[in-house]
């Protein structure tokens, strides 16, 4: 998604004289074209994320539109207080871009795993959290972020969507990828793991699965549409899937929302990353598999929400 992001920001944002792009020393062999397009409004703020985010807040309060870029962990956790106090409390239109959401930097080790980012950010006031599932979502989200008068966090990942005729997809905060059988199991996903899950669902055509993908968090900010809620009430069960820890995540948010709305099906299940850290490493798919975010576990969970297992 990083390349799609670079293309989108060059095409749609760089010419805006108010736009300023700050990077935390990331982007070698990736952002040079962005640097060229932004000219003097491209700033390598160095390995200094707290300062970078504070500077961005200052820029925004003075009428500029800052885009701040780093690896997702460094974008969120190091400058969290600056994000909270300087940006969110003051409702400033800063766009924070975190690359490598989830296990995007899997084999780089645990300091690079962004597994608590949107959960912790979701507790902050005013912040919009955009989580693209597919490359096609990124340009639309770049435009949303640019036009937003509020702070935005854009979590980039790696599109693993299946090559199916229904692509490319037009972005919407909630999309139904598979309109399954009424009363069948419902699956709801956030983030690029949606592509994997989509493929897993397509391999189980007899199950009548409905598959939805959400693009903006936390759930109460952009709640699921009426069609989703009606389908959920009639569904045999609901399974959520995400590349994030369970606490504060998409699954807990959605289930909580539906429960309060009286639309929660009988068998809610969550597939998420356990809080206990893995102690062996590998690429993104390997790390996901270690955490039970794989097709075999999905099948088992699907059986559970279909009523095959109690």
């Amino acid at each position: 998604m990083r390349d799609t992001f670079s293309s989108a920001i060059i095409a749609d944002i760089a010419n805006d004289p108010k736009a300023v792009f700050l990077t935390g020393d990331l982007g070698f062999n990736a952002l040079e074209s962005v640097q060229l397009a932004f000219g003097e409004r491209f700033i390598n703020a160095g390995i200094a994320e707290q300062n970078m985010v504070g500077v961005a807040a200052g820029l925004a309060s003075s009428g500029q539109k800052p885009w701040v870029y780093s690896i997702a962990t460094f974008m969120v956790f190091r400058p969290f207080e600056q994000i909270r106090n300087d940006i969110c409390l003051h409702d400033l239109p800063v766009v924070l871009v975190g690359n490598g959401g989830g296990f995007g930097y899997g084999v780089m080790g645990p300091t690079h795993h962004a597994l608590e980012d949107y959960g912790s950010l979701g507790t902050l006031p005013n912040l919009r959290i955009l989580v693209p599932a597919f490359d096609e979502d990124v340009p639309a989200m770049v435009t949303i972020a640019h036009l937003s008068k509020k702070p935005v966090y854009l979590r980039l990942g790696f599109d693993r969507g299946p090559d199916v005729p229904s692509r490319p997809l037009e972005y919407a905060p909630w999309r139904c990828l598979i309109d399954g059988a009424p009363g069948g199991p419902m699956v709801a996903v956030a983030g690029p793991i949606a592509g994997l899950v989509w493929g897993w669902c397509l391999s189980e055509p007899q199950k009548g699965i409905s598959l939805w993908v959400a693009g903006e968090l936390p759930v109460p900010n952009v709640p699921p549409p009426e069609k989703f809620q009606q389908a959920a009430q009639a569904a045999s069960g609901l399974l959520t899937v995400e590349e994030h820890v369970r606490p504060g995540g998409f699954g807990e948010g959605l289930i909580s929302y539906l429960a309060l709305a009286g639309a929660l099906p009988d068998r809610p299940r969550i597939m998420a990353v356990p809080k206990d850290r893995i102690t062996e490493y590998g690429d993104q798919l390997y790390c996901l598999s270690l955490c039970g975010l794989d097709q075999e576990t999905f099948r088992s969970e699907l059986s559970a929400i279909s009523g095959d297992i109690t």
Binding site: L26, N29, L31, I47, A48, T279, G282
Partner: protein
């Protein structure tokens, strides 16, 4: 180390090559008894794993698993895996605070161990380092030895172009720290700098002038050595150059 990085098409080799000499010296020669090391520039994990293999703490064969699925040796040091790796590093600017805490603990319990903290130069852009240096000096942590791998390049440019911090030593010295500068590839000079009596009652800082990509001629001092993996041809030539130097 070159083989480890090349086999899996891994970048970050430049900063590993700049630090490997000084890291080997510290790990295999200077560290004694309960001395401890914090590798603050976690992206040099490959060099650390090589030191651990040379020290017999992991099997050399395990180095082949570097960056592979199922490895205990990820691109940055892992947590809770090896006794000698006290902290998972990889987010820059944590190591000096960690090492200061370890040095303070050692002082509180009356021990005589030295805590070594190996840092990059770019990571001094993180403000936390300046908080840590104040702290370490204030608490007279003379058992803390900071070694800075001063290769003058960072991820997306040079230190000079990014932050005008080429006078880093002066800035650190201004906090009252005993600072020296040496050729970071001259082991005798490094040993002396780390071993001579500390001229202050606080930590010492050794600024090791190094070359990013050291040992791979067409990588040396090049920005691309930070991220770009070696090609087959480049790896073969690099290994033959090193073999010839043996």
């Amino acid at each position: 180390m070159i083989k480890m990085h090349h086999a899996n098409h891994i970048g970050h080799l430049g900063g590993n090559l700049s630090v490997i000499d000084l890291l080997c010296l510290i790990y295999l020669d200077l560290m004694r008894g309960t001395d401890q090391l914090v590798l603050s520039k976690g992206h040099a994990a490959g060099a650390l794993y090589v030191c651990m293999a040379l020290a017999g703490e992991i099997d050399e064969a395990e180095l082949e698993s570097f960056h592979q699925n199922g490895t205990r040796l990820p691109g940055h040091p892992p947590a809770n895996t090896f006794e000698k790796i006290a902290f998972a590093t990889g987010s820059l600017g944590h190591g000096l605070s960690l090492a200061s805490g370890m040095a303070l603990a050692e002082k509180l319990r009356g021990g005589d161990a030295t805590i070594f903290c190996v840092m990059g130069d770019g990571e001094w852009q993180e403000g936390s380092n300046w908080e840590a240096i104040w702290f370490a000096q204030h608490h007279t942590l003379s058992n803390l030895t900071i070694v800075v791998d001063q290769n003058e390049l960072q991820g997306f440019g040079s230190i000079r172009d990014t932050s005008s911090m080429e006078d880093l030593l002066k800035r650190v010295r201004s906090h009252g720290i005993d600072c020296s500068t040496v050729d970071g590839h001259n082991l005798d000079a490094l040993r002396d700098a780390c071993s001579l009596p500390n001229k202050s009652d606080g930590p010492r800082a050794v600024f090791a002038r190094t070359l990013k990509g050291k040992g791979v001629p067409w990588f040396e001092g090049e920005m691309r050595s930070h991220y770009v993996p070696l090609t087959d041809d480049a790896a073969e030539k690099a290994l033959s150059v090193l073999q010839a130097k043996k």
